[in-house]
Symmetry: C2
Subunit: 232 residues, 2 copies
């Protein structure tokens, strides 16, 4: 058995960034969303399903903390739970997403009771949480590196949605404007952690596979949303 | 199959409190510790092994957050991670325990590299983390109810250790004095969560079993420490 030499940091980061074409920014459903081609019903299905993804994120991040033996990483990662859940009720990323749901005409109740949730979205999102719970913490951190690709997409989303959906106001998109700030560093702090703790070629390849897996999670969410929109 | 009626809140809480005799306060090793019967070597073994328990607590608490779908519980529980890990380096319960280790004559290095760790302590502590990761979050919360019994024991510990070990100073026991404040409510907030989310008889019995399990974890830690002291 031959053991491959580790990639240099430049090669490793390039391999991670090279997965950008797998990011859901290029999914046909996102093109339709951005171009203003979704009707009110489709926009509701999108928002209610994407909510399920938002609401598991603090649990995914807690799984990473639970698996991580490095106190400084745990302290650093804790901010993410607060980001999603908020420091108090009525704050945080999940709450901002619920407000977007209301802006597109959903009641909080019909989002929270998951009546619009497509099975494929549940599978994809639950698979992501299971990944974070069961894989080494560095791989779970690497899976979050889709934030490298998120800033550009979200900036376009805010301008496109305001231009193409007359009933959406700027404040309805607080989730995205807030998130643009959060990912403005293009995930550099996360890249640094992944580079530092993936030192063997095997670990580097596992990190690349983790980010690839996460791209599949997001892509599958939109596949399932697209199918849910086609029905009835 | 007959389904038993749920216990009243009073009966349920009494059943939980009724496990106090299983708490490690009455373990023979703790009697020796309090009575001043441990020599320097035994005190070191105790502190270095107990450290392993302290250092997994934030990971146990993160597992609870990861498994919990209730945002307000997650927000509430997050403080525990900060309590153990500290808001920044050099703070927190783990750090205070490390200072106690140094006060009894251990170097930080020999604590952190786990050279004194007894296999039975590792098994017991790891079993506790696995329990929190794999059991329903309410059971994992209930397992932490040993904090109902902790205040009394820790107050006695501070006075007994200062009285019986000439080389221990008050500031060396910061871990305990700080912890006494943290558990001064005798776990009432935790009891309230367990009562609120254990509504069926089956759930109540699972919560009682969880606390019983936790008593066994702590007891087994001291059994293993006691054995480690007997050797060489």
């Amino acid at each position: 058995m031959t053991t491959s030499a580790p990639l240099s940091e430049t090669e490793f980061v390039a391999a991670l960034r090279g997965l950008s074409h797998r990011y859901w920014g290029t999914h046909p459903f996102h093109h339709r969303l951005h171009d203003g081609d979704l009707d009110e019903r489709e926009l509701k299905i999108w928002a209610a399903n994407r909510w399920y993804y938002q609401c598991v994120l603090p649990r995914k991040d807690a799984a990473i903390i639970s698996n991580c033996p490095v106190p400084e990483i745990r302290r650093h990662w804790l901010d993410r739970i607060v980001y999603h859940d908020g420091a108090r009720e009525g704050e945080g990323g999940i709450e901002r997403w619920l407000r977007l749901c209301q802006a597109v005409g959903l009641t909080r109740e019909e989002v929270l009771d998951e009546r619009h949730l497509a099975p494929g979205v549940r599978f994809a999102v639950d698979a992501y949480v299971t990944f974070a719970r069961t894989r080494p913490w560095v791989e779970a951190v690497a899976s979050g590196l889709t934030e490298m690709f998120a800033g550009h997409l979200m900036r376009r989303r805010v301008s496109d949605m305001l231009a193409n959906y007359a009933w959406i106001r700027a404040e309805d998109l607080d989730y995205f404007t807030n998130r643009i700030d959060a990912v403005s560093g293009e995930g550099q702090a996360t890249v640094d952690i992944v580079v530092r703790y993936s030192t063997t070629r095997t670990e580097q390849e596992a990190a690349i596979a983790a980010l690839s897996f996460k791209c599949d999670v997001l892509w599958s969410i939109l596949d399932a949303v697209e199918r849910a929109c086609e029905k009835d």
